[in-house]
């Protein structure tokens, strides 16, 4: 039978997972509020300001609204897949957070191939949309599903190459070790103490930009939200959805966005490392730095949503295949060459 130790270990993992999920979901509610406030500020509106102090409880009010509405199952849909699609999106999105280290050792599953796991699961997120769009048995959702398939496959390629350059520099697929590898770098080479100059955003700057833009495309944030472009496809794959299934789609989408912020933080911005490793900064616990950095990336996401008009679909495809793919491919070769030539490879 299962031993006492194994049972305790399983319970401990379950406890950590539940804690992570609760914190993640509460943070998510706040992030949606931040997103709307930033959007409103750019357009000189007030944004949500009625529910709770400064409108802070708006997301929770929205949650109640979604949950209490009636679930509508259109007659001509493929029922099982119609219900499964939002569940797939949400469960996959939540399961990615298991491998993200929010501070040194603070991770549910510290697996060897952490970054590949993230890449694999985030490439599966496309199925939620495709299945939802197909099962709806309706024109707009179907078009959205086709667009989603093309868009995800295109931008996965450049994200893959970005990840490969980081792997070349860090020499590990483990996310914790990738952060540790960023403790020394360009800054320490010229004799400075450990600082933000060591992180990979500086030597891999073009890849940081490509990662950021591809992350926008990967999570269907504006200006790449072509699958739910209101003016063309009404709401894309979510046209036929209402109530809780719709909420699950929204939830999965936002969790994917937080994941991309966390990935940018871990791969390029030194994870939980303090910006300068001297007295007042390294007293602050790592998880605070991680949260601040991820929030900074999310702020950029929110600003881009407010600033940039939507791309056309052919422009999107051109950017992915004709601009990002050659640049990232070239940079992989360049980084590998520099690492070998100067004997810097880990």
């Amino acid at each position: 039978m299962i031993g006492w130790d194994t049972a305790m270990m399983l319970l401990w993992i379950a406890f950590k997972s539940v804690l992570l999920l609760v914190i993640l979901l509460v943070t998510l509610a706040m992030l949606i509020y931040v997103d709307r406030k930033v959007w409103a500020a750019v357009q000189m509106r007030r944004g949500p300001n009625v529910v709770g102090p400064f409108g802070l409880l708006q997301s929770f009010a929205d949650l109640l609204k979604f949950v209490l509405k009636e679930v509508v199952l259109p007659d001509a849909t493929n029922k099982a897949l119609f219900i499964a699609a939002p569940l797939i999106t949400t469960i996959l999105a939540l399961s990615t957070w298991a491998v993200v280290p929010v501070a040194d050792g603070w991770v549910v599953a510290d697996i060897n191939v952490g970054i590949l796991y993230l890449f694999a699961i985030s490439s599966l997120m496309v199925y939620g949309t495709i299945i939802g769009g197909w099962a709806s048995n309706s024109k707009y959702p179907f078009l959205a599903a086709l667009r989603e398939a093309a868009q995800m496959v295109s931008y996965e390629v450049s994200i893959g190459f970005v990840i490969i350059t980081v792997l070349l520099a860090a020499g590990s697929l483990n996310l914790t070790e990738i952060v540790h590898a960023q403790q020394s770098g360009l800054g320490t080479m010229i004799g400075l103490p450990n600082s933000f100059l060591d992180w990979y955003w500086l030597p891999l700057f073009p890849m940081f930009i490509i990662f950021f833009v591809s992350a926008l495309a990967e999570t269907q944030r504006p200006p790449f939200d072509l699958i739910e472009a209101e003016s063309e496809l009404v709401a894309g794959h979510m046209v036929e959805y209402s109530s809780t299934p719709y909420l699950l789609f929204m939830l999965g989408e936002y969790v994917a966005i937080t994941l991309m912020c966390a990935m940018a933080t871990v791969l390029f911005m030194g994870g939980w490392l303090p910006p300068v490793d001297i007295a007042p900064f390294n007293w602050i616990p790592g998880v605070v730095w991680f949260a601040l950095k991820a929030l900074a990336v999310f702020f950029m996401f929110a600003l881009v949503k407010a600033f940039v008009p939507r791309y056309r679909f052919d422009q999107l495809m051109r950017l992915g295949w004709k601009v990002f793919l050659p640049i990232s491919l070239f940079y992989v070769v360049l980084v590998a060459g520099v690492l070998v030539a100067f004997d810097l490879a880990p």
Binding site: M1, I2, T6, L81, I111, N112, V113, L116, Y117, F119, A120, I121, S123, L124, V126, Y127, I130, I131, W134, F142, A145, L146, A149, A150, M152, V153, E156, L173, D314, Q315, R318
Partner: protein
């Protein structure tokens, strides 16, 4: 105990979904079960300690190849009556090919003799002191790099061939030239016209 429970789970779901792939009528459902089968295959790889292969299986097959599969199949308008008529016509040929394949596979399976070292290696897929990503990388990129490069060249030739076969440049469609679009200025695009009342442009 937990590992063997997961082995039975992955293996049985894998077999059932693989059977459903070839028996289901709806091609979209068949592809979805193929995805499930790949997932459980990745699970089996994980149990065997081959975590890199497991993740690559999910990334490449489930994340990319099957997305395109689904993309094509969802757009198909399948006529099942015609499909059935075709089935009866080509059944003898299909039976012949299947029979030959089955016979060959059985021949291989019965005559299979593993190398002397292989039995020991099979028990320990993970090498001591390195992750299996490092072990695979060493074999592919250090020990056998020329084979790897040759395989890459062959795939490149195949890819160029496919592009050459399917690319035909149509002249009767309007194409966007991004450089022209970016180079356009306000002066050449917008003109202020003073329209006289009652005349129009």
């Amino acid at each position: 105990m937990i590992v063997s429970a997961f082995f039975w789970l992955f293996a049985s779901v894998l077999l059932v979904s693989a059977a459903l792939v070839i028996t289901l009528r709806n091609p979209v459902h068949a592809v979805l079960f193929l995805i499930l089968a790949f997932f459980n295959g990745a699970g089996l790889f994980l149990l065997a300690g081959a975590e890199f292969l497991a993740m690559i299986l999910v990334v490449v097959y489930v994340g990319a190849v099957l997305v395109l599969f689904l993309f094509i199949i969802m757009m198909l308008d399948v006529d099942f009556a015609e499909l059935k008529a075709g089935f009866i016509r080509s059944a003898p040929l299909a039976g012949l090919v299947g029979g030959v394949l089955l016979a060959e596979l059985m021949f291989v399976a019965l005559k299979w003799k593993p190398a002397a070292m292989a039995a020991k290696l099979k028990m320990a897929p993970a090498m001591q002191g390195m992750t299996n990503t490092e072990a695979l990388g060493r074999i592919l990129y250090t020990d056998h790099v020329y084979f790897f490069q040759a395989a890459g060249m062959i795939l490149l030739v195949a890819m160029i061939g496919a592009i050459v076969l399917s690319l035909h440049h149509r002249r009767d469609v309007k194409r966007q030239n991004v450089a022209d679009q970016v180079a356009r200025t306000r002066e050449e695009a917008v003109r202020l016209v003073d329209v006289k009342p009652g005349q129009g442009l």
